[in-house]
Symmetry: C2
Subunit: 376 residues, 2 copies
């Protein structure tokens, strides 16, 4: 659908007054990655956009296409809260210090699980928003997937009455066990694959759930169904959803699923969570070869972070009733073949090596791979 | 559903470190007005809350109930953007000056139409957000109901290619005609009642629509259906919805309606729009007698503004298909008898006199009146 919008102008407006790297442009992009690639390529081929190999800039003709009046009235994302709506009071500094210390030596993201954790500040911001809505103190909280180690930060506040982590990755359980012991915390860990039935003891037991679901249709359905199944009536959920990799049709499907599960959406805050796309030393960022392969011009190759963001969706479970029943199995696709077939990267660059880059980047790479294997 | 949440703590947390007027408390309240009344009354009767007749404060026992750790980690609403996510660049100052001058002598809110317009700054903020999403420049925009005179501010930017206002109030049409003439604008006005069929010439013609719908079920359905009917495929909508007077069940109904109409919700920004509840000289604020009647303690009677806020919902019409067909009539209720029967104000204070206070306040008063007439 967003194809029906003139996406060119968003790039033109961004470059109107200053040259920018490809990462700067991605930072301001509100549509899919696929649309980004096709839009900048189109502008380049039309001679509206040029590059010195590092930064992109508009040509004279490109500048002529900028609607100056539109630019004049373009607001800025709030510099104080970065569009998150809230600002963190001082005690979060101490929390962040403790959290950073506690998660040293955390497990590296693993390819098989499409992991890749969000930054510590973003973890703190999520706790702040949850607390703003009264969803932390004395609450029973369940996390489905926790490579972000939100559980540890939550536990360090001392506020929740119970924290349960479900994750397929045993290493996260081991790490949490260690943190529990070292810091005197009581986070419960259960190895669990969202494809399988939920332990009955978890049903309708929790006040809040949080997750960063896999952004495939089956992934969204599974993660949200499991979360909703764990919520008591009136419980709340928090999850992330991107515009970079989830089309408007997928957003529609997600919202429809939520309503069918008796949940009402109360907040959708764009760009609330930032994924630091490079996290470990010597990153071999899989986006890089993808972009190099698909973009029709040279660009600054030094990978920059902070542009991969997701919207935070908050919902309340008025009458929680998961569309995947708690004891039902569901096959979770790591990629959506249909969406990946439409992907401009398709049939392109090589599969990244094991252990490279974050979850979302690897998911994208896997999309391509899948698309190559199943041409139609 | 929010009845299942412990609402007491939100009042306790707000009063923990400073005494506040009833209006300060309302400003921070995230639930319904009815829940506000019952919560503060309960706290007062339990001896947790007291008053000097002006400000409310916690008693010693009340302070003992505050969760200090929860308070420590309570974030602040961003002071820079007031939680709107964006900040306005300088050109908006000039726009605001021009807008304020242009709307001098605007029609006073009229009781029959449940009007009551939002402040000029909020009108500017809405334009800024719309422009942020690329929904203003060179766009055909339709406003359903325009006592806010958003049309005038939009026209003064010079950005939209067409602005059409539908409003039942002929005085707004006359006023807009005058503004058009004086400022050389071309806003189109059509007298229209949302209950009636839409002029066929408006169907699927617009890129964007904006409205502050009447918050009854039939009102929401009518305003949103008419708006969606006017949108082209891929068009966008902006509308306000409160938590003060719309229950979570009503939010659910609104979201379900949107999805049924082929629209996907892209943003829900709480408290984006502030209604200045007192606007004209010598306000006879109908909330005042209502609160005086229902609250079990004295409070500062000088009415303060800025606490009546609505969330801004943005949606994109993936496949626009209104649930009320364009040529179909719909009866719009000014109040929802079911919701008003559950209202704690019911059977209470007298109906406010004609011309008093803003739209929402009068709607509330009408609710009571209706509830009195139809006890069950």
């Amino acid at each position: 659908m967003s194809c029906m919008r003139e996406l060119d102008k968003f790039i033109l407006l961004q470059l109107a007054d200053s040259d920018k790297t490809i990462w700067d442009l991605l930072d301001g992009w509100q549509f899919t990655l696929a649309e980004f690639i096709s839009t900048v390529n189109k502008l380049y081929e039309e001679g509206l956009l040029d590059t010195d190999g590092k930064k992109l800039r508009l040509t004279r003709e490109g500048k002529g296409r900028v609607n100056r009046a539109e630019l004049r009235y373009m607001p800025r994302l709030c510099g104080a809260c970065k569009g998150r709506r809230i600002t963190l009071p001082k005690p979060y500094r101490g929390l962040l210090r403790k959290f950073r210390r506690a998660v040293r030596g955390r497990p590296a993201p693993k390819d098989d699980y499409y992991q890749g954790f969000v930054g510590e500040l973003d973890v703190a911001a999520r706790i702040a928003l949850m607390n703003y809505h009264g969803d932390v103190a004395d609450k029973k909280i369940i996390l489905i997937g926790d490579d972000d180690l939100l559980s540890v930060a939550l536990a360090l506040t001392g506020l929740p009455s119970r924290i349960v982590v479900l994750d397929v990755d045993e290493r996260i359980g081991d790490f949490i066990d260690g943190v529990n012991e070292k810091h005197g915390l009581t986070i419960e860990f259960l190895r669990y694959n969202v494809e399988g039935p939920l332990p009955k003891t978890l049903l309708n037991r929790f006040d809040a759930f949080s997750s960063e679901p896999l952004e495939t249709e089956s992934g969204m359905k599974a993660f949200l169904s499991r979360g909703v199944a764990c919520l008591r009536k009136g419980g709340v959920g928090y999850f992330g959803l991107t515009t970079l990799e989830a089309s408007r049709r997928k957003w529609f499907m997600v919202e429809e699923s939520l309503l069918r599960m008796g949940c009402v959406i109360t907040d959708v805050i764009r760009g609330f969570t930032i994924y630091p796309s490079v996290y470990f030393k010597e990153p071999k960022e899989p986006f890089l070869p993808l972009l190099k392969f698909k973009l029709k011009f040279d660009f600054k190759e030094k990978f920059e972070t902070g542009w991969y963001k997701s919207s935070l969706v908050r919902f309340e479970a008025v009458e929680p009733s998961p569309i995947v029943r708690w004891n039902e199995k569901i096959k979770v696709e790591l990629v959506d073949p249909k969406e990946s077939l439409a992907h401009p990267f398709s049939y392109g660059p090589p599969k990244p090596r094991d252990g490279e880059g974050p979850r979302r980047a690897r998911k994208l790479a896997a999309n391509i791979d899948r698309a190559r294997q199943k041409p139609f």
